[in-house]
Amino acid sequence: MIERLLFGAVSTVLVFTALMAVTTRNLVHAVLWLGMTLATTAMLYILLQAPFLATLQLILYTGGVLSLMLFGVMLTRRSSEQDGVMVGNESNGRRRALPIVAIMLGLLVTAVGRTPLANAPVSPSPTTAEIGKRILSTHLLAFELLSVLLLAAMVGAIVLARRKDASLEGTNDPRERAAALPGSRPAGAPKEV
């Protein structure tokens, strides 16, 4: 009974925060709503008796990914936008997106309804020690490949985001720095269409 109540509350918060994350017009707020969604997901993991996943979720997502995204929002903010980054949702795009989403949701709900799912947990939930042993025995190759992938992503991100001209490191005014960069257009120039 109490589990049912908890699940109802957690899933309501989950859907509400997810909706706010995709519909709010302020980008910083969208990222913060996403953080709420991810933290609520950690509660869902606890309800699923997976404390390891809940910890992972809180550390990696709400700790790492969220702050990274906030930095992304702040770094790509134009100086003209004083009161937050506003994002316009085109009504045209919404009109096209809604039927696609409705079809997808209908398909998913039908598929879940028609599939006989085992609805009772068959085995006791694994402890973190068991998960660790499984990672380092059965899934050892995937684990090592994953570390190579993370290294590649790190190197790739540094190469992509690095400034080409190292002599501009001293300038602090972003507009001055942007104007001095060879490939960039000055801020007032018309955009290519």
Binding site: A21, T76, I100, V101, L146, G156, E192
Partner: protein, 99 residues
């Protein structure tokens, strides 16, 4: 709680993320929506692990989480690059290669 409930919640979340990907014009907004979709998939994996055979599903969530972090890092680097080139990150305006 039953497995159906968890899978349905994950399905709802996936669809909300899909709606965000389709309607957002800002590249970071799209990244936020993609996070929602990945999160829905993770909930599914954890739910099937709980109601099924146990350990492997949780290991898979660990792997997908690491993949998502890598994806976000590279995605944000690309967004920064786009911003440096164009001074905005609206993806529908970045059509320089359009024929």
């Amino acid at each position: 709680m039953t497995l159906d409930a968890y899978v349905l919640i994950a399905g709802f979340m996936f669809c909300i993320g899909l709606y965000g990907v389709l309607t957002r014009r800002n590249a970071i907004g799209i990244l936020v929506s993609v996070e929602l979709m990945v999160n829905a998939a993770n909930i599914n994996l954890a739910a099937f692990a709980h109601f099924g055979r146990g350990i492997d599903g949780q290991v898979l969530v660990l792997f997908t989480t690491a993949l998502t972090v890598a994806e976000v890092v590279v995605g944000l680097a690309l967004v920064l690059l786009l911003f440096r080139r164009r001074k905005d990150i609206l993806v529908d305006l970045a059509n320089g290669l359009k024929g």
